[in-house]
Subunit: 343 residues, 2 copies
């Protein structure tokens, strides 16, 4: 139950000054070889490691980055964290994770908690409520304090900072185009409510693909789902009416629910109904039939976001000059993974 040893204790024990110990351990030439080796041996024996907190205070940087996400029990977000963690680790950074639970207040609270010196920068994806309210003062604030922020996936144009996104619109376009190519005429879009930024962009891509192919854009075929539990009812009604022969769902939970509903009604996937989902998660790989998806590599997004953030952090050290803020938005490519739910 002995506490970690400090420079001071080593100094006292060896009857030298703290500075001598510090310098010896950093192999400074100022210290004579004899003393240096003695100190190093002693430190090694007692397994001395500098205290991170003291270093953070002194250097004014913590070597850790804060992640704020809406959910953690969520395939996409966990892959992003994984991607961030990989890069962070490589560069010697730790990651501190806070979950906003899609609540504005929690997002603000978490940011404030971390902004007071605990971390060197943020990587975040906005909560639904924040996107709905359009209130981003907490983010502006940390940016004004000189703390770099990288946003991913659920971003906003109202904040100037680095961003990592996928081209939701063109990815949706590609998905819908592939449905059209295989002969589908009545393609439904199952999406979330409008204020979630990505939902809107995907809708745009869907619309454009239809129009470009001379197909009618029918508002009735856009199904907005607030909660996955209500999905089944809504879907089954429309399926009864045989209103569509293909579905583009903005997430795999919607997709798998649609497939199950169709199966219950005796419809075959993909023969009677083709299904494509956004977000290539674990469900798509293991559902029956497996689901064709637009993959958005969370890991790549995480990698990229972490790299951007760490570059910002380490750039700041070297130039205290007010450099021109040339924020960049990185677009991660997507691709269609064809599986059994389409033909």
């Amino acid at each position: 139950m002995k506490r970690k040893i400090t420079l001071k204790q080593i100094a006292k024990e060896l009857d030298v000054s703290i500075s001598t110990v510090s310098k010896s351990l950093r192999n400074s030439l100022e210290i004579g070889e004899e003393t240096r080796l003695k100190v190093q041996a002693f430190a090694k024996f007692y397994n001395y490691k500098p205290n991170n907190i003291a270093l953070s205070l002194k250097n004014r940087k913590t070597k850790s980055i804060g992640i704020i996400i809406p959910e953690i029990v969520h395939y996409f977000f966990s892959t992003v964290i994984n991607g961030i963690e990989q890069v962070a680790n490589e560069y010697g950074y730790s990651v501190v994770i806070c979950v906003s639970d899609d609540s504005f207040d929690k997002e603000v609270l978490n940011m404030e908690m971390l902004a007071n010196g605990s971390i060197d920068g943020f990587i975040m994806s906005l909560s639904k409520e924040t996107q709905y309210k359009g209130d981003f003062h907490h983010i502006t604030e940390v940016i004004n304090q000189g703390m770099p922020v990288v946003m991913f996936d659920r971003v906003t144009n109202d904040i100037l900072c680095d961003k990592v996104i996928i081209d939701d619109k063109s990815a949706a376009y590609e998905a819908v185009q592939s449905l059209i190519d295989s002969g589908r005429k009545k393609i439904a879009l199952v999406t979330t409510v409008d204020y979630v930024s990505v939902g809107k962009l995907r809708t745009d891509g869907y619309e454009k693909a239809l129009l470009d192919n001379g197909l009618p854009f029918n508002e009735d075929l856009i199904i907005k789902i607030e909660d996955v539990d209500t999905c089944e009812i809504t879907i089954s009604e429309l399926l009864h009416a045989r209103a569509f022969d293909a579905v583009f769902a903005v997430n795999e939970l919607f997709a798998v629910t649609i497939i199950k509903t169709a199966n219950k009604m005796g419809l075959k996937v993909p023969e009677d109904l083709a299904v494509i989902a956004f977000t290539d998660g674990i469900i798509s790989k293991y559902s029956t039939p497996t689901i064709t998806t637009v993959s958005q590599s969370g890991e790549k997004m995480g990698n990229k976001a972490a790299k951007m953030l760490i570059e910002r952090i380490e750039a700041e050290e070297n130039e205290d000059e007010e450099h021109t803020e040339n924020y960049i938005t990185e677009v991660i490519e997507t691709h269609l993974i064809k599986r059994e739910s389409t033909d």
Copy 2:
């Protein structure tokens, strides 16, 4: 681009001492009302918040807890993190997450990185490699330094500390018993390699259930899978031989692969083959058919682990006495969730 304001800056600006500012903000009676209000107003205007790092250094505690897990893109582990995060947040703690990637070296490295003052305690689940090697010196070390550790799920008897587990043996027993109750006679166990602690315990429960019911315990029906990719081949061979009519799989990935393999061969689940999986994840809920599982609530485990850790941390503050270490092992109850893969 103004840095966060400090006590010192406020003091200088208002031409009082740092102590006066500090005390004013903590509403000390030592300071006259006029000065106090003036300082508070000024601090509020400039949005002063004490620097966490400085506080950590002074108080010798960071108000953050370290989590070390084998994987993060993993339903069970992410639910545990979620559970930890909830409680941590409630008590004003942050969580720092490191992924060991099932590698011993990474686990050691991550622990060392965090152990040097960054956190107040650990919550961890052992990596496969660590369990295989049986080398726990890195954990002993942090415990000896007086840092509390709570282990969950993948634990070891070689380390004395608080633990949160489920009763793997009796949970497996219950699952197998339910298969027997529905008339199954030849029940296979699909498990992982032996050195993963939970795998072994589940095997024990399986064996006991068979023996208690007078069924033969046949080594050939225990299928050890190193990698999920090899699962399909192994399974299909045994299915061809009609060697078993029910399967107890130690995770849902194995279970869903088995079901898919059976379906390909024209076998019906649950009629020809009943399937139960350990770990109630998202796949089980959405696969076709949905899979009967033994639920182990990751969230509850996380909640409990966090509570235990925080209690230890805060107990340490009050008693510097070498108190008798009465470590406890909390067992989280499981229950069987019946779905379509069993009858």
